[in-house]
């Protein structure tokens, strides 16, 4: 029995090593085709850009690099690396690899969306994008973050732990992922083959607004627009909830695990002479704000920009500036980019000397 178990264990270890060994052969972004497509542009023209925006569709659809560069008081040449459904900890994984990326050797500023550690829905646990970034460090972080979150219900906590655990196991065993990795290895172009070519061709700085996509492509984004117009009340609810959280920020606690990780990322960026800034975006669901707002105020002011407070930024919650409940339209995005550039300019001109914590 003992011999049998030892042999089975050894076999499994060798098999897993072989599977994991393929990670060395593929680029770090192999599981996110949209991001891969944008990084391809960056690799071709990496030296042109000194500022990157990282995050989900809230970055991708709302930050206009061309406008940002004209508004910024410091000279910037920026690129929008926001990608749909790219949340924490995936964005952290991309960040830590990107700053080591030799092709991106001109970076001075990285603006990253502040997000919660996102639950992995049961249907998505087998998806490549839910697995590829889950190395041991990101798994440890996600698990510890969930275990240390104060306001999570037991049910949600278990769901999140199971979600991350299952996705990690799948990645470890190569279920779904190995085939994709080998396909990328065999034909690197297959990585971005599924990406909409209109987006790739028409977004040289990575920005492609939802309004523009609705005009040029239509499809699912049009449905989202119609659904929002039919019932915009959810936006008012989000605004009210966000305001309540901002007004009572002392009642919420920052997750120490998350805060430590953010500080580590800032330190890592500093070591590479990059100024990392976290942006708190508007229109998040209330439980997101409850977790992120206290965290945000624990960060060094030199590394944070608030764009989520409904009292200060009422325009970002206005129906006329909206595309759907979670995103701004072209006009709203212009306002958003303008405000971001203004606050960014203030931050970088003051520099990292600002270290005192500031709470509202």
């Amino acid at each position: 029995m003992k011999l049998f178990l030892i042999k089975v264990f050894t076999f499994c270890c060798i098999l897993i090593l072989c599977i994991q060994g393929t990670d060395w052969l593929v680029p770090y972004y192999w599981g996110n085709p949209e991001c891969a497509d944008k990084l391809r542009t960056l690799h071709d023209r990496g030296a042109e850009f000194n500022t990157l925006f990282i995050g989900s569709s809230r970055v991708y659809r709302q930050i206009n690099p061309a406008l940002f560069d004209t508004m910024s008081v410091v000279p910037t040449s920026s690129f929008n690396l926001g990608c749909s459904r790219t949340f924490t900890p995936e964005s952290f994984y991309l960040f830590k690899h990107m700053i080591e990326d030799d092709a991106l050797n001109n970076l001075q500023y990285i603006v990253m969306e502040l997000q919660i550690v996102t639950p992995i829905a049961p249907d998505n646990r087998g998806a490549i994008q839910s697995q590829y970034y889950l190395d041991a460090e990101e798994l440890r972080f996600a698990m510890a973050e969930v275990l240390n979150a104060e306001d999570l219900s037991l049910k949600r906590r278990i769901k999140m732990l199971v979600g991350y655990g299952e996705s990690y196991l799948r990645r470890l065993l190569g279920i779904n992922t190995l085939r994709t990795k080998l396909a990328v290895l065999y034909n690197p172009a297959s990585l971005w083959a599924g990406i909409n070519t209109v987006v790739a061709a028409n977004a040289p700085d990575g920005y492609y607004s939802l309004e523009r996509e609705a005009r040029e492509i239509g499809g699912e984004v049009l449905v989202r627009r119609q659904e929002f117009l039919a019932d915009p009340a959810e936006l008012s609810r989000r605004k009210a909830q966000a305001q309540q959280i901002y007004n009572n920020v002392a009642a919420f606690h920052a997750n120490p695990i998350y805060l430590t990780r953010l500080k580590q990322l800032i330190a890592l960026a500093n070591a590479h002479h990059i100024h990392l800034i976290f942006v708190l975006p508007p229109r998040l669901q209330d439980e997101y704000f409850a977790e992120l707002v206290p965290l945000f105020y624990q960060l060094n002011p030199a590394h944070r920009i608030d764009l989520g407070n409904p009292e200060r930024f009422a325009d970002f919650y206005a129906v006329e500036n909206s595309y759907d409940v979670g995103h701004l339209n072209d006009h709203g995005s212009a306002l958003f980019t303008h405000e971001l550039a203004t606050q960014f300019s203030e931050l970088v001109t003051v520099g990292t000397a600002v270290t005192t914590d500031e709470t509202p």
Binding site: M1, L3, F4, K7, V8, F11, I14, L15, C18, I19, G126, E166, L169, R170, L173, G174, I175, N176, L178, R179, L182
Partner: protein, 476 residues
């Protein structure tokens, strides 16, 4: 729970470790564990399915005890009838009710009579055909005096629901499997090792071959009216290997998993596409089902010890019923009937005469003759698979119509050769290892090479994995 799922990859080692490390001193407790694990495995699909299997088990357990205790022939017949009505009634209700109602309505509609009978919205419980036949054989064998009933309820319940073979066989006889639940089991390194190798081969066939071939098969069958005859031939051949790898892959995993717990299940497949005629095909394909039909349908009908005409009738009935067992659709009935029809020449002309003729030929002549026999049998079986795979009779006939057209001899416009690679690999391996119970019985090869083969197959299977696709035979 599917064998090719992450859940099962966690479930199996957990049950295995509990079974051998915690409960190894008591086979009764091991039975309790197996029963609980089997119900968890089955309830993973839908917990309501458990009610049905528990009901069926309780009925047969009780009837089995009563049958043994009652010498009165009338009472015994009544008890047997009760078991048959209960088991076949459940099968009929859940599997065939809508089929018979719809066929009845269609029949009257053709005679110009409109009937308005509503069908039921019933979910087909996974594996119902398999465990129903397994429990039926228990009461039938007790009734015939071939088997003594067990008084160990846990052993019987565990026998009926034994998770490795619960949902798609092999269909075990109580006389073979039940005694294994009623004795102490000992861990055998050789058996467990062989079990793991068989599991690996089964998973490989399912994931790397069957699921891959499902891609062209689905494409070709979905759009068969637009395909050339030559592509339709390829579609049928691909399906022949898809269903073989899918089903025999499941059986290999089931047998392999059972070996891990020191259970020996029946062999279900022996390289069926190397059969020289239809009779031999059925001695190699889904063996536990064909022997079930032989023992409980064909022989009671009179078997072969009767006139040629009655023998032929018995064959046709047995194959047609076997076709219906596979699914509630006329395509399965026709599929079974066609197999019966292709069996008839063997009754009219003794195939052994051809074997004797070949024995007197040169080695090349014998090889050619055997090759032609195998090729001919494969062609007949593959034609039958078209009915098995088609959505309905119209689809099957349309497929055949387009297949036997002028385009049969045209070159396919698309290159499908990539799908022939795993088929050639499978056929070569099975041919080279045809004397073994499964192709991974390779003890004579040096250890490092053996491990390299295992790793390559495991890596290949994982690299081929697309999604957790259910096994085809689950629907039966």
């Amino acid at each position: 729970m599917l064998f090719n799922s992450l859940e099962f990859a966690l479930f199996l080692p957990t049950v295995f470790l509990l079974y051998w490390l915690i409960l190894r001193r008591s086979w009764r407790l091991q039975n309790v564990l197996l029963l609980g694990a089997s119900y968890l495995f089955y309830g993973w699909w839908d917990w309501r399915f458990l009610l049905l299997i528990i009901f069926s088990t309780v009925v047969d357990y009780t009837i089995g005890l009563r049958l043994a205790a009652t010498p009165n022939p009338t009472t015994r017949k009544g008890l047997l009838a009760l078991s048959l009505v209960t088991n076949l009634g459940l099968l009929g209700l859940f599997k065939y009710f809508n089929f018979f109602i719809e066929s009845f309505v269609d029949l009257f509609a053709q005679a110009g009579i409109g009937l308005n009978i509503t069908t039921l919205q019933i979910i087909l419980p996974v594996g119902i055909s398999f465990y129903t036949f397994q429990t039926l054989s228990y009461t039938l064998d007790i009734y015939r005096g071939k088997l003594k009933p067990t008084s160990d309820a846990v052993a019987f319940f565990a026998f009926v629901s034994f998770f490795p073979q619960l949902v798609a066989g092999p269909i075990e006889r109580a006389a073979d499997l039940l005694p294994q639940f009623e004795k102490e089991r000992r861990f055998s390194y050789a058996m467990a090792k062989d079990g793991l190798r068989q599991i690996l081969w089964g998973i490989f066939k399912k994931v790397a071959i069957a699921d891959l071939l499902a891609i062209p098969v689905n494409l070709i069958f979905a759009d068969s009216s637009q395909m050339s005859g030559s592509v339709l031939v390829l579609g049928a051949i691909f399906f022949a290997f898809q269903i073989y790898c899918d089903f025999s892959g499941y059986s290999d995993v089931a047998i392999g998993v059972a070996k891990l717990f020191d259970f020996q299940l029946s062999t279900n497949f022996v390289s069926p596409y190397f059969a020289k005629n239809i009779a031999e095909f059925w001695q190699r394909w889904h063996i536990t089902l064909s022997t079930w039909f032989r023992d409980y349908v064909y022989i009671p009908l009179g078997g072969s010890r009767c006139s040629k005409a009655t023998h032929m009738r018995n064959i046709l009935i047995t194959f047609t019923v076997s076709g219906l067992w596979h699914g509630a659709n006329w395509t399965f009935v026709i599929w079974g009937f066609l197999h019966g029809l292709s069996y008839l020449p063997l009754i009219l002309w003794n195939p052994e005469r051809f074997d004797r003729y070949l024995a007197h030929q040169s080695p090349f002549g014998r090889m050619t003759g055997r090759g032609l026999q195998m090729g001919g049998t494969f062609a007949v079986v593959t034609l039958g698979w078209i009915f098995f795979r088609a959505e309905d009779l119209t689809h099957a006939l349309s497929y055949l119509h387009h297949l036997f057209s002028r385009s049969l001899f045209s070159l396919p416009a698309t290159d499908w050769s990539i799908y022939l690679v795993p088929i050639l690999f499978l056929v070569t391996v099975e041919w080279l290892q045809r004397d073994k119970r499964h192709p991974l019985q390779i003890d004579r090869i040096p250890l490092p090479v053996r491990w390299l083969i295992y790793l390559t197959l495991a890596f290949w299977a994982i690299a081929s994995f697309r999604q957790e696709t259910p096994f085809i035979y689950f629907q039966f």
